[in-house]
Symmetry: C2
Amino acid sequence: MCGHEVLAAVLQVRDDRLHVLLWRRAIDPDAGAWSLPGGDLAADEHLGGSIRRQLAEKVDVRELAHLEQLDSRGRPERVPDRRVVATSYLGLVPVDADPQVPDDTAWHPTDALPRTAFDHGEIVRTAVARLRSKLSYTNLGFALAPPEFTMSELVKVYRAALGHDVDPTNLQRILVRRGQIEATGSTARHGPGGGRPAAIYRFTARALEVTDPFAVLGPPRG
Amino acid sequence: MCGHEVLAAVLQVRDDRLHVLLWRRAIDPDAGAWSLPGGDLAADEHLGGSIRRQLAEKVDVRELAHLEQLDSRGRPERVPDRRVVATSYLGLVPVDADPQVPDDTAWHPTDALPRTAFDHGEIVRTAVARLRSKLSYTNLGFALAPPEFTMSELVKVYRAALGHDVDPTNLQRILVRRGQIEATGSTARHGPGGGRPAAIYRFTARALEVTDPFAVLGPPRG
DNA sequence: CGAGGTTTTCGACTACTGGTCGATAACCCG
DNA sequence: CGGGTTATCGACCAGTAGTCGAAAACCTCG
Protein backbone atom coordinates (compact mmCIF):
# COMPACT_ATOMS: atom_id res chain seq x y z
CA MET A 1 0.00 0.00 0.00
CA CYS A 2 2.89 2.37 0.58
CA GLY A 3 4.98 4.06 -2.07
CA HIS A 4 7.28 7.01 -2.38
CA GLU A 5 8.08 9.03 -5.46
CA VAL A 6 10.34 11.98 -6.17
CA LEU A 7 9.45 14.75 -8.62
CA ALA A 8 11.36 17.76 -9.88
CA ALA A 9 10.29 21.09 -11.29
CA VAL A 10 13.24 21.96 -13.52
CA LEU A 11 13.16 25.65 -14.43
CA GLN A 12 15.03 27.57 -17.09
CA VAL A 13 14.73 31.00 -18.68
CA ARG A 14 14.14 30.48 -22.39
CA ASP A 15 13.31 33.24 -24.80
CA ASP A 16 12.92 35.74 -21.95
CA ARG A 17 10.31 33.64 -20.16
CA LEU A 18 10.55 31.22 -17.26
CA HIS A 19 9.87 27.65 -18.42
CA VAL A 20 9.43 24.29 -16.73
CA LEU A 21 10.32 20.91 -18.17
CA LEU A 22 7.24 18.66 -18.48
CA TRP A 23 6.69 15.19 -19.73
CA ARG A 24 3.61 13.92 -21.55
CA ARG A 25 2.00 10.94 -19.86
CA ALA A 26 1.37 8.08 -22.26
CA ILE A 27 -0.57 5.86 -19.89
CA ASP A 28 -3.45 6.20 -17.49
CA PRO A 29 -4.20 7.56 -15.03
CA ASP A 30 -4.32 10.99 -16.56
CA ALA A 31 -2.92 9.95 -19.93
CA GLY A 32 -2.22 12.93 -22.16
CA ALA A 33 -1.68 15.32 -19.27
CA TRP A 34 1.70 16.90 -18.68
CA SER A 35 3.59 15.79 -15.61
CA LEU A 36 6.84 16.44 -13.79
CA PRO A 37 9.85 14.20 -14.39
CA GLY A 38 10.56 11.77 -11.58
CA GLY A 39 9.44 8.38 -10.39
CA ASP A 40 9.49 5.86 -7.62
CA LEU A 41 12.18 5.76 -5.00
CA ALA A 42 14.33 2.65 -5.29
CA ALA A 43 15.09 0.48 -2.27
CA ASP A 44 18.66 1.58 -1.69
CA GLU A 45 18.42 5.24 -2.71
CA HIS A 46 18.31 8.42 -0.74
CA LEU A 47 15.91 11.12 -1.92
CA GLY A 48 18.46 13.43 -3.52
CA GLY A 49 20.17 10.54 -5.29
CA SER A 50 16.89 9.26 -6.60
CA ILE A 51 15.80 12.51 -8.18
CA ARG A 52 19.21 12.87 -9.82
CA ARG A 53 18.98 9.39 -11.27
CA GLN A 54 15.48 9.97 -12.58
CA LEU A 55 16.35 13.34 -14.03
CA ALA A 56 19.35 11.87 -15.83
CA GLU A 57 16.89 10.10 -18.14
CA LYS A 58 15.43 13.43 -19.24
CA VAL A 59 18.20 16.01 -18.98
CA ASP A 60 21.95 15.97 -18.85
CA VAL A 61 22.40 16.33 -15.10
CA ARG A 62 25.62 18.28 -15.65
CA GLU A 63 23.43 21.10 -16.93
CA LEU A 64 21.66 21.27 -13.56
CA ALA A 65 23.26 24.19 -11.75
CA HIS A 66 21.16 23.80 -8.62
CA LEU A 67 18.86 21.28 -6.96
CA GLU A 68 17.03 21.61 -3.67
CA GLN A 69 14.16 19.94 -1.89
CA LEU A 70 10.82 21.72 -1.89
CA ASP A 71 8.30 19.76 0.17
CA SER A 72 6.39 16.50 0.47
CA ARG A 73 2.77 15.81 -0.27
CA GLY A 74 0.84 12.82 0.98
CA ARG A 75 -2.87 13.35 0.48
CA PRO A 76 -4.21 9.81 -0.03
CA GLU A 77 -6.20 10.88 -3.08
CA ARG A 78 -3.46 12.89 -4.76
CA VAL A 79 -2.92 10.06 -7.25
CA PRO A 80 -5.88 7.78 -8.08
CA ASP A 81 -5.69 4.03 -7.55
CA ARG A 82 -2.45 4.27 -5.67
CA ARG A 83 -1.18 5.54 -2.35
CA VAL A 84 2.03 7.45 -2.95
CA VAL A 85 3.83 10.18 -1.07
CA ALA A 86 5.74 12.61 -3.29
CA THR A 87 8.82 14.61 -2.36
CA SER A 88 9.35 17.47 -4.79
CA TYR A 89 12.53 19.23 -5.84
CA LEU A 90 13.43 22.49 -7.53
CA GLY A 91 16.05 22.24 -10.29
CA LEU A 92 17.62 25.13 -12.19
CA VAL A 93 19.29 25.16 -15.61
CA PRO A 94 21.35 28.19 -16.81
CA VAL A 95 19.96 30.21 -19.68
CA ASP A 96 22.81 29.34 -22.03
CA ALA A 97 22.37 25.58 -21.78
CA ASP A 98 20.21 23.78 -24.31
CA PRO A 99 19.85 20.25 -22.99
CA GLN A 100 18.81 17.43 -25.27
CA VAL A 101 15.42 16.23 -24.09
CA PRO A 102 13.45 13.16 -25.20
CA ASP A 103 10.59 13.46 -27.66
CA ASP A 104 7.88 13.16 -25.03
CA THR A 105 9.19 16.10 -22.98
CA ALA A 106 8.95 19.80 -23.65
CA TRP A 107 9.51 23.19 -22.01
CA HIS A 108 6.38 25.10 -21.02
CA PRO A 109 6.10 28.71 -19.85
CA THR A 110 5.31 28.73 -16.13
CA ASP A 111 2.77 31.50 -16.59
CA ALA A 112 0.72 29.47 -19.07
CA LEU A 113 0.82 25.86 -17.97
CA PRO A 114 -1.05 23.20 -19.93
CA ARG A 115 -3.31 20.71 -18.17
CA THR A 116 -1.09 18.99 -15.63
CA ALA A 117 -1.42 15.57 -14.04
CA PHE A 118 -2.40 15.19 -10.37
CA ASP A 119 -1.00 17.97 -8.17
CA HIS A 120 1.96 18.71 -10.43
CA GLY A 121 0.73 22.18 -11.36
CA GLU A 122 0.69 23.10 -7.69
CA ILE A 123 4.26 21.87 -7.33
CA VAL A 124 5.38 24.04 -10.24
CA ARG A 125 3.80 27.09 -8.59
CA THR A 126 5.56 26.24 -5.34
CA ALA A 127 8.85 25.95 -7.21
CA VAL A 128 8.41 29.31 -8.92
CA ALA A 129 7.54 30.97 -5.62
CA ARG A 130 10.61 29.47 -3.97
CA LEU A 131 12.85 30.64 -6.80
CA ARG A 132 11.45 34.17 -6.70
CA SER A 133 11.89 34.57 -2.99
CA LYS A 134 15.39 33.07 -2.97
CA LEU A 135 16.53 35.31 -5.81
CA SER A 136 16.06 38.20 -3.39
CA TYR A 137 18.10 37.01 -0.45
CA THR A 138 20.56 34.50 -1.91
CA ASN A 139 22.98 34.34 -4.84
CA LEU A 140 20.71 31.85 -6.62
CA GLY A 141 20.98 33.89 -9.79
CA PHE A 142 24.18 31.98 -10.55
CA ALA A 143 22.06 28.96 -11.42
CA LEU A 144 20.04 30.82 -14.03
CA ALA A 145 22.72 33.05 -15.57
CA PRO A 146 25.43 32.02 -18.04
CA PRO A 147 29.04 31.81 -16.79
CA GLU A 148 29.72 35.36 -18.00
CA PHE A 149 27.26 38.04 -18.87
CA THR A 150 26.62 41.74 -19.27
CA MET A 151 24.23 43.54 -16.97
CA SER A 152 21.58 43.82 -19.64
CA GLU A 153 21.70 40.08 -20.19
CA LEU A 154 21.40 39.49 -16.45
CA VAL A 155 18.53 41.91 -16.18
CA LYS A 156 16.63 39.95 -18.79
CA VAL A 157 17.14 36.75 -16.82
CA TYR A 158 15.96 38.35 -13.57
CA ARG A 159 13.00 39.94 -15.30
CA ALA A 160 11.87 36.61 -16.71
CA ALA A 161 12.38 34.75 -13.44
CA LEU A 162 10.77 37.37 -11.19
CA GLY A 163 7.96 38.20 -13.56
CA HIS A 164 8.32 41.95 -13.20
CA ASP A 165 10.56 44.77 -14.31
CA VAL A 166 14.06 45.07 -12.82
CA ASP A 167 16.19 48.18 -12.85
CA PRO A 168 19.73 47.55 -14.22
CA THR A 169 21.36 50.25 -12.07
CA ASN A 170 19.82 48.82 -8.95
CA LEU A 171 20.57 45.20 -9.76
CA GLN A 172 24.19 45.94 -10.48
CA ARG A 173 24.71 47.92 -7.29
CA ILE A 174 22.96 45.36 -5.08
CA LEU A 175 24.74 42.30 -6.44
CA VAL A 176 28.16 43.96 -6.42
CA ARG A 177 27.69 45.28 -2.90
CA ARG A 178 26.74 41.83 -1.70
CA GLY A 179 29.79 40.36 -3.39
CA GLN A 180 27.65 38.07 -5.51
CA ILE A 181 29.03 39.25 -8.86
CA GLU A 182 32.32 40.76 -9.98
CA ALA A 183 33.56 42.40 -13.17
CA THR A 184 35.85 40.24 -15.30
CA GLY A 185 37.55 43.30 -16.75
CA SER A 186 36.66 42.61 -20.35
CA THR A 187 33.86 44.21 -22.28
CA ALA A 188 31.33 43.01 -24.83
CA ARG A 189 31.16 44.14 -28.42
CA HIS A 190 27.97 45.36 -29.98
CA GLY A 191 26.06 44.65 -33.12
CA PRO A 192 25.59 47.38 -35.71
CA GLY A 193 24.42 50.69 -34.31
CA GLY A 194 26.97 50.88 -31.57
CA GLY A 195 26.50 51.99 -28.03
CA ARG A 196 28.93 51.85 -25.17
CA PRO A 197 30.45 48.37 -24.73
CA ALA A 198 29.05 46.59 -21.69
CA ALA A 199 31.27 45.34 -18.89
CA ILE A 200 31.29 41.58 -18.46
CA TYR A 201 30.53 40.11 -15.05
CA ARG A 202 30.53 36.69 -13.46
CA PHE A 203 29.09 35.25 -10.25
CA THR A 204 31.74 34.87 -7.57
CA ALA A 205 30.31 31.56 -6.32
CA ARG A 206 28.55 28.66 -7.97
CA ALA A 207 26.90 27.26 -4.86
CA LEU A 208 24.04 28.63 -2.81
CA GLU A 209 24.93 31.36 -0.32
CA VAL A 210 22.46 33.23 1.82
CA THR A 211 22.87 36.98 2.11
CA ASP A 212 23.36 37.75 5.79
CA PRO A 213 20.38 35.75 7.11
CA PHE A 214 18.28 38.78 7.87
CA ALA A 215 19.90 41.66 9.63
CA VAL A 216 16.43 42.17 11.06
CA LEU A 217 16.33 41.64 14.81
CA GLY A 218 19.96 40.83 14.41
CA PRO A 219 22.35 40.34 17.28
CA PRO A 220 24.24 43.39 18.48
CA ARG A 221 26.96 44.00 15.92
CA GLY A 222 29.53 45.50 18.26
CA MET B 1 10.42 -2.64 2.22
CA CYS B 2 8.97 0.84 2.12
CA GLY B 3 7.70 2.89 5.03
CA HIS B 4 6.94 6.46 5.83
CA GLU B 5 7.01 8.17 9.18
CA VAL B 6 6.27 11.68 10.40
CA LEU B 7 8.21 13.38 13.19
CA ALA B 8 7.80 16.71 14.94
CA ALA B 9 10.19 19.00 16.77
CA VAL B 10 7.87 20.75 19.20
CA LEU B 11 9.54 23.86 20.61
CA GLN B 12 8.65 26.02 23.59
CA VAL B 13 10.39 28.70 25.61
CA ARG B 14 10.60 27.47 29.19
CA ASP B 15 12.51 29.20 31.93
CA ASP B 16 14.03 31.63 29.42
CA ARG B 17 15.50 28.87 27.29
CA LEU B 18 14.29 27.24 24.10
CA HIS B 19 13.27 23.62 24.72
CA VAL B 20 12.22 20.68 22.56
CA LEU B 21 9.89 17.86 23.55
CA LEU B 22 11.64 14.49 23.41
CA TRP B 23 10.57 10.96 24.15
CA ARG B 24 12.71 8.22 25.64
CA ARG B 25 12.89 5.10 23.50
CA ALA B 26 12.10 1.96 25.43
CA ILE B 27 12.91 -0.53 22.71
CA ASP B 28 15.73 -1.18 20.27
CA PRO B 29 17.07 0.05 18.01
CA ASP B 30 18.66 2.83 20.00
CA ALA B 31 16.84 2.04 23.24
CA GLY B 32 17.49 4.69 25.90
CA ALA B 33 18.14 7.44 23.39
CA TRP B 34 15.83 10.43 23.16
CA SER B 35 13.73 10.74 20.04
CA LEU B 36 11.15 12.99 18.45
CA PRO B 37 7.45 12.24 18.84
CA GLY B 38 5.83 10.79 15.74
CA GLY B 39 5.35 7.49 14.04
CA ASP B 40 4.28 5.67 10.94
CA LEU B 41 1.92 7.16 8.42
CA ALA B 42 -1.40 5.29 8.32
CA ALA B 43 -2.92 4.15 5.04
CA ASP B 44 -5.62 6.79 4.74
CA GLU B 45 -3.82 9.76 6.27
CA HIS B 46 -2.25 12.82 4.77
CA LEU B 47 1.04 13.99 6.26
CA GLY B 48 -0.27 16.93 8.27
CA GLY B 49 -3.14 14.88 9.67
CA SER B 50 -0.82 12.11 10.67
CA ILE B 51 1.54 14.28 12.66
CA ARG B 52 -1.41 15.87 14.45
CA ARG B 53 -2.78 12.47 15.39
CA GLN B 54 0.58 11.25 16.64
CA LEU B 55 1.25 14.41 18.58
CA ALA B 56 -2.13 14.18 20.28
CA GLU B 57 -0.79 11.21 22.22
CA LYS B 58 1.97 13.36 23.72
CA VAL B 59 0.65 16.91 23.93
CA ASP B 60 -2.75 18.54 23.94
CA VAL B 61 -2.88 19.59 20.31
CA ARG B 62 -4.90 22.66 21.25
CA GLU B 63 -1.72 24.00 22.84
CA LEU B 64 0.01 23.86 19.45
CA ALA B 65 -0.07 27.40 18.12
CA HIS B 66 1.73 26.57 14.88
CA LEU B 67 2.73 23.58 12.83
CA GLU B 68 4.62 23.52 9.54
CA GLN B 69 6.51 21.03 7.43
CA LEU B 70 10.30 21.12 7.57
CA ASP B 71 11.74 18.56 5.18
CA SER B 72 12.02 14.88 4.33
CA ARG B 73 14.93 12.54 4.84
CA GLY B 74 15.38 9.24 3.12
CA ARG B 75 18.92 7.99 3.56
CA PRO B 76 18.58 4.19 3.50
CA GLU B 77 20.72 3.83 6.61
CA ARG B 78 19.08 6.58 8.66
CA VAL B 79 17.28 3.93 10.72
CA PRO B 80 18.87 0.50 11.12
CA ASP B 81 17.07 -2.67 10.05
CA ARG B 82 14.32 -0.75 8.33
CA ARG B 83 13.86 1.40 5.29
CA VAL B 84 11.83 4.43 6.27
CA VAL B 85 11.48 7.93 4.86
CA ALA B 86 10.76 10.59 7.47
CA THR B 87 8.92 13.87 6.95
CA SER B 88 9.64 16.29 9.78
CA TYR B 89 7.53 19.10 11.18
CA LEU B 90 8.12 22.16 13.36
CA GLY B 91 5.57 22.71 16.14
CA LEU B 92 5.39 25.68 18.50
CA VAL B 93 3.80 25.97 21.95
CA PRO B 94 3.27 29.37 23.63
CA VAL B 95 5.33 30.16 26.69
CA ASP B 96 2.32 30.31 29.02
CA ALA B 97 1.05 26.81 28.22
CA ASP B 98 2.15 23.90 30.39
CA PRO B 99 0.95 20.81 28.58
CA GLN B 100 0.56 17.54 30.42
CA VAL B 101 3.10 15.15 28.94
CA PRO B 102 3.46 11.39 29.53
CA ASP B 103 6.10 10.02 31.91
CA ASP B 104 8.47 8.95 29.17
CA THR B 105 8.65 12.42 27.59
CA ALA B 106 10.49 15.52 28.77
CA TRP B 107 11.53 19.00 27.64
CA HIS B 108 15.21 19.44 26.80
CA PRO B 109 17.09 22.69 26.14
CA THR B 110 17.90 22.89 22.44
CA ASP B 111 21.40 24.14 23.17
CA ALA B 112 22.26 21.08 25.26
CA LEU B 113 20.60 18.08 23.66
CA PRO B 114 21.06 14.63 25.16
CA ARG B 115 22.04 11.67 23.00
CA THR B 116 19.36 11.49 20.33
CA ALA B 117 18.17 8.54 18.27
CA PHE B 118 18.98 8.30 14.55
CA ASP B 119 19.02 11.68 12.81
CA HIS B 120 16.65 13.32 15.26
CA GLY B 121 19.24 15.72 16.61
CA GLU B 122 19.78 17.04 13.12
CA ILE B 123 16.05 17.58 12.72
CA VAL B 124 15.94 19.59 15.95
CA ARG B 125 18.73 21.82 14.69
CA THR B 126 16.88 22.32 11.42
CA ALA B 127 13.74 23.25 13.35
CA VAL B 128 15.58 25.79 15.50
CA ALA B 129 17.18 27.34 12.43
CA ARG B 130 13.81 27.60 10.70
CA LEU B 131 12.24 29.22 13.76
CA ARG B 132 15.05 31.75 14.09
CA SER B 133 14.94 32.84 10.50
CA LYS B 134 11.15 33.05 10.39
CA LEU B 135 11.03 35.14 13.56
CA SER B 136 12.79 37.85 11.56
CA TYR B 137 10.51 38.11 8.55
CA THR B 138 7.16 36.75 9.74
CA ASN B 139 4.85 37.27 12.71
CA LEU B 140 5.74 33.80 14.04
CA GLY B 141 6.30 35.28 17.49
CA PHE B 142 2.57 34.87 18.08
CA ALA B 143 3.11 31.14 18.43
CA LEU B 144 5.69 31.54 21.20
CA ALA B 145 4.22 34.47 23.13
CA PRO B 146 1.26 34.39 25.54
CA PRO B 147 -2.02 35.98 24.40
CA GLU B 148 -1.11 39.25 26.13
CA PHE B 149 2.28 40.42 27.27
CA THR B 150 4.46 43.37 28.16
CA MET B 151 7.44 44.25 26.03
CA SER B 152 9.90 42.95 28.61
CA GLU B 153 8.12 39.60 28.64
CA LEU B 154 8.21 39.48 24.85
CA VAL B 155 11.88 40.41 24.79
CA LYS B 156 12.64 37.46 27.04
CA VAL B 157 10.82 35.12 24.66
CA TYR B 158 12.67 36.47 21.63
CA ARG B 159 15.99 36.35 23.45
CA ALA B 160 15.49 32.70 24.33
CA ALA B 161 14.30 31.74 20.87
CA LEU B 162 16.95 33.67 18.94
CA GLY B 163 19.79 32.85 21.29
CA HIS B 164 21.13 36.38 21.44
CA ASP B 165 20.32 39.71 23.02
CA VAL B 166 17.37 41.72 21.73
CA ASP B 167 16.82 45.43 22.29
CA PRO B 168 13.33 46.19 23.68
CA THR B 169 13.10 49.61 22.02
CA ASN B 170 13.93 48.14 18.66
CA LEU B 171 11.67 45.14 18.98
CA GLN B 172 8.70 47.29 19.95
CA ARG B 173 9.20 49.72 17.11
CA ILE B 174 9.67 47.02 14.48
CA LEU B 175 6.70 44.89 15.48
CA VAL B 176 4.36 47.85 15.83
CA ARG B 177 5.43 49.34 12.53
CA ARG B 178 4.82 46.03 10.82
CA GLY B 179 1.39 45.82 12.40
CA GLN B 180 2.26 42.53 14.08
CA ILE B 181 1.45 43.69 17.61
CA GLU B 182 -0.87 46.34 19.05
CA ALA B 183 -1.33 47.88 22.50
CA THR B 184 -4.40 46.66 24.39
CA GLY B 185 -4.60 49.93 26.31
CA SER B 186 -4.20 48.42 29.76
CA THR B 187 -1.02 48.33 31.77
CA ALA B 188 0.64 45.79 34.02
CA ARG B 189 1.17 46.17 37.73
CA HIS B 190 4.52 45.58 39.33
CA GLY B 191 5.83 43.62 42.24
CA PRO B 192 7.45 45.43 45.12
CA GLY B 193 10.00 48.02 44.12
CA GLY B 194 7.85 49.78 41.58
CA GLY B 195 8.86 51.07 38.21
CA ARG B 196 6.71 52.48 35.46
CA PRO B 197 3.80 50.16 34.62
CA ALA B 198 4.34 48.39 31.32
CA ALA B 199 1.87 48.67 28.46
CA ILE B 200 0.22 45.39 27.53
CA TYR B 201 0.34 44.24 23.91
CA ARG B 202 -1.15 41.44 21.87
CA PHE B 203 -0.39 39.99 18.45
CA THR B 204 -2.86 41.18 15.82
CA ALA B 205 -3.01 37.80 14.07
CA ARG B 206 -2.74 34.22 15.21
CA ALA B 207 -1.79 32.70 11.89
CA LEU B 208 1.45 32.95 9.93
CA GLU B 209 1.91 36.11 7.90
CA VAL B 210 5.02 37.00 5.95
CA THR B 211 6.29 40.56 6.19
CA ASP B 212 6.32 41.97 2.67
CA PRO B 213 8.17 39.09 0.98
CA PHE B 214 11.37 41.02 0.54
CA ALA B 215 11.24 44.49 -0.82
CA VAL B 216 14.62 43.59 -2.26
CA LEU B 217 14.64 43.59 -6.05
CA GLY B 218 11.00 44.41 -5.70
CA PRO B 219 8.75 45.46 -8.52
CA PRO B 220 8.49 49.17 -9.23
CA ARG B 221 6.29 50.65 -6.52
CA GLY B 222 4.80 53.48 -8.52
C1' DC C 1 4.87 64.66 50.74
C1' DG C 2 9.16 64.61 48.46
C1' DA C 3 13.75 62.22 47.33
C1' DG C 4 15.74 58.35 45.43
C1' DG C 5 15.41 53.99 43.10
C1' DT C 6 13.38 51.17 39.39
C1' DT C 7 11.33 50.06 35.11
C1' DT C 8 9.37 51.47 30.87
C1' DT C 9 8.88 54.41 27.01
C1' DC C 10 10.01 57.96 23.85
C1' DG C 11 12.77 60.71 20.74
C1' DA C 12 16.85 61.84 18.31
C1' DC C 13 20.74 60.41 15.84
C1' DT C 14 23.26 57.38 12.74
C1' DA C 15 24.07 53.88 9.26
C1' DC C 16 22.71 51.19 5.61
C1' DT C 17 20.00 49.65 1.88
C1' DG C 18 17.11 50.10 -2.09
C1' DG C 19 14.28 52.90 -5.73
C1' DT C 20 14.62 56.68 -9.04
C1' DC C 21 16.43 59.61 -12.39
C1' DG C 22 19.25 62.70 -14.78
C1' DA C 23 24.06 63.25 -16.33
C1' DT C 24 28.02 61.34 -18.39
C1' DA C 25 30.88 57.91 -20.82
C1' DA C 26 32.02 55.07 -24.67
C1' DC C 27 31.02 53.28 -28.74
C1' DC C 28 29.10 53.13 -33.96
C1' DC C 29 27.94 55.16 -38.27
C1' DG C 30 27.54 58.35 -41.75
C1' DC D 1 33.25 65.25 -36.17
C1' DG D 2 28.25 65.28 -34.90
C1' DG D 3 24.25 62.57 -33.86
C1' DG D 4 22.33 58.22 -32.27
C1' DT D 5 22.71 54.38 -29.03
C1' DT D 6 23.76 51.79 -25.08
C1' DA D 7 25.98 51.42 -20.63
C1' DT D 8 27.47 53.33 -16.40
C1' DC D 9 27.86 56.53 -12.71
C1' DG D 10 26.52 59.75 -9.18
C1' DA D 11 23.23 62.17 -6.46
C1' DC D 12 19.09 62.25 -4.08
C1' DC D 13 15.26 60.39 -1.41
C1' DA D 14 12.77 57.12 1.49
C1' DG D 15 12.33 53.50 4.62
C1' DT D 16 14.20 50.60 8.19
C1' DA D 17 17.18 49.09 11.91
C1' DG D 18 20.76 49.79 15.81
C1' DT D 19 22.05 52.77 19.69
C1' DC D 20 21.65 55.63 23.52
C1' DG D 21 20.37 59.12 26.58
C1' DA D 22 16.40 61.56 28.48
C1' DA D 23 11.94 61.60 30.23
C1' DA D 24 7.83 59.33 32.18
C1' DA D 25 5.42 56.71 35.61
C1' DC D 26 5.43 54.06 39.30
C1' DC D 27 7.13 52.34 44.21
C1' DT D 28 9.02 52.84 48.93
C1' DC D 29 11.07 54.91 52.59
C1' DG D 30 12.07 58.58 55.46
